[in-house]
Amino acid sequence: MAQADIARLIETHRDELVQIWVQAVRADQSIQSDGDLSEGGLVDHVPVLLDEICEVLDTGQKLTLHNMHEARVHAYTRFCQGYRARDLVREITLLRLLLIDHVNRTLPDAPHLFPRQDYFAAMHTINLYLDEELRYAVSIYTEGATVPQPIAFV
């Protein structure tokens, strides 16, 4: 097994993971911004973001600006939705924990099939990806940017 196998563990449970994450966000009393969002609005770009994470894991690429497009879309959308920055951080935390727990739960308990360094490499990738999203979010939330106008009304 390798990082690509971890990608498959996430890919094959993607929709289920998104549903669990939605429930976790809704249940988290510290998150207030989700109140005005429909299920679709809350789910937002998260399935696509998971697809991108899986692709990075699957191909063994290093994270660069070229393979983090969907993370920036997610941060951007939350910014436009009026989501509080601290709520975005919290929902990313919940996603991070969910992914780590899921991988731990579904990984076969067979160290000879799955070397520890592959597991840690995958965890590093997931963490770096989500941290880079937060880093981008900090920029757009704190650098005085205004919310862009919806394109269809320009």
């Binding site: 679709g40 609005g41 789910v43 937002d44 770009h45 399935p47 696509v48 697809d51 991108e52 600006l65 070229h66 497009h69 969907e70 920036r72 879309v73 951007y76 959308t77 910014f79 436009c80 939705q81 920029s139 757009i140 650098e143 005085g144 940017a145 205004t146 919310v147 862009p148 919806p150 394109i151 269809a152 009304f153 320009v154």
Partner: protein
């Protein structure tokens, strides 16, 4: 070194082009759009790289480039159901005319040939 004012103008210019190209996709006007998106992607990469490696700030947020458009994102940009369907149609159009995904077309080093709506490059 690029000034903040010039960077702001650069981002605004990119956003204007982005609006134009996505609006074209939303209206079903796909001709040669892929070539234009490649140029736009290069601009976007420069903006993100400049921001990431300098003291420049996002006083205007660049519209994010996505290779895997989602309903939530497109509706958030103000597009209606038909326009969203047309944008997805553009992704299908790219696959049909270029023989590869939109993302692969944008990232590929080789030149992309213009395709008239609905027809692969070179067909008459």
């Amino acid at each position: 070194m690029i000034s903040q004012e010039d960077f702001d103008k650069f981002v605004e210019s990119y956003n204007t082009d982005y609006q134009y190209l996505l609006s074209r996709a939303a209206s079903g006007s796909y001709d040669c759009l892929i070539s234009s998106f490649r140029v736009l992607k290069d601009l976007y990469d420069v903006i993100i790289k400049l921001h990431d490696t300098s003291h420049l700030n996002f006083r205007f947020v660049p519209y994010p480039l996505t290779f895997r458009a989602s309903d939530a994102f497109l509706v958030g940009l103000g597009f209606n159901e038909q326009q969203v369907a047309n944008i997805y149609g553009f992704l299908e159009h790219v696959k049909r005319t270029q023989g590869r995904e939109f993302e692969d077309c944008l990232e590929a080093p080789d030149p992309v040939n213009c395709a008239v709506a609905g027809f692969p490059h070179g067909s008459s």
